[in-house]
Symmetry: none
Subunit: 235 residues, 2 copies
């Protein structure tokens, strides 16, 4: 229905950081990276980073203090969807549990031609409402394999967040793409994983993130309960 607005660099930076804040990846009170660190991450000049931060400050999402840094001042976390669309819960308060199905080193299995790597770190997770057995989301993350992922296969993820592990290794997304469409019918295999009925329509989200240098950070494919999840965007 629309065309992507050509974005300036500063707008893009504001957008990526805003999504990280709204998704809860950067929680309320958290310190953003320093301006010079963001310069490196987004591969732009400091003036441009500051312009992007200015947008967030104007929206009241962050506050910056001289000599210290910038801090998140927004507490409305949603779920970990990374940058891009804001994933909105259709209902009100919904407590969701997370279950990690598997963390493995394996060949690339999903259909994402942009991911050239033969081997990936694969993390599959379920989210479910605690009172029922039905899973609300099924998320499959694929990250091009690096040797320093080896420990994760034994120890698991810190706080269950793959993004955080990637961040620790300098794999911060600076740009990306996102696709959304309707999966008309849940497959038998996925239905079994999610404790749902095969044939149900689902909302399917695919996201590819890249570093400033263009290297693929992560590819995520999510199946979401259409009753509960929708996409929302302001422009």
């Amino acid at each position: 229905m629309a065309q992507p607005e050509p974005k300036t660099k500063s707008e893009r930076i504001a957008r990526v950081l805003e999504a990280e804040i709204r998704s809860g990846f950067l929680h309320d009170g958290a310190a953003l990276s320093s301006e010079t660190a963001l310069v490196a991450r987004f591969a732009v000049s400091r003036a441009t980073v500051r312009k992007g931060l200015g947008v967030l400050a104007a929206k009241g999402l962050i506050r910056t203090k001289v000599g210290i840094g910038s801090f998140v001042t927004y507490g409305g976390a949603v779920i970990d969807n990374g940058p891009g669309w804001s994933l909105a819960l259709s209902e009100g308060e919904t407590r969701m549990g997370v279950r990690i199905l598997s963390i493995t080193r394996q060949p690339m299995d999903l259909d994402a031609p942009q991911v050239a790597a033969a081997e990936v770190l694969a993390v599959d997770r379920l989210r479910f409402r605690e009172n029922t057995g039905r899973a609300l989301t099924l998320e499959r993350s694929r990250v091009p394999w690096r040797e320093d992922f080896a420990a994760l296969l034994r120890t698991g993820l810190e706080q269950g967040s793959l993004s955080r592990e990637l961040e620790l290794r300098g794999l911060s997304p600076a740009s990306g793409e996102e696709w959304a469409n309707v999966l008309p019918a849940l497959s038998v295999a996925d239905a079994a994983l999610m404790g749902r009925s095969a044939g149900e329509p689902m909302l399917r989200l695919r996201r590819l993130t890249r570093t400033a240098s263009g290297r693929v950070v992560e590819y995520v494919e999510s199946l979401l309960d259409p009753e509960l999840f929708g996409l929302h965007m302001e422009f």
Copy 2:
């Protein structure tokens, strides 16, 4: 349909660039060369290049931004104008016809609390592939009623575009919101309108646009064939 021979240099430039865009050589979101680079490429003056770019901009194929450049805003099938999500056709070239179901003055019927107006201009359209009877989209636009819409009820829309009529009356969207979700089952009434089966899952898009002063310009609710349409976003 045979194209007439381009008469002027600026027409030739527009023709060449348009072909590159429609062929996919310049994909959606891609940056065109700068005007001075195009001056060198086509060996004409900058004014001529700008005239050619002006033709493309008027067609909605590109958008130019001061200090940055010109960008392709044509994703293969532009359904409607305006910023926000980019609606992507899953398949390749698909020629679609438009049929306007009705243009009426009526009470607000859709569930959009942001639209305070009691009376609206309501435009319902179908889009369909020409060889089949199945509609691919059903779009319902609602615009707060103004007296200068009266003529539209008799004369119809210029080029079938409501956006153009709104633009002519100074109602240019400056900001807005967009929601997307899965409609699990097409209603019997809508199925009949679209020539589809009731119960099919559909992609539902809702968009609310506002002027710079915050007045609601338009509310649109679209049902889209999930096989054919998806959402795409870069960040």
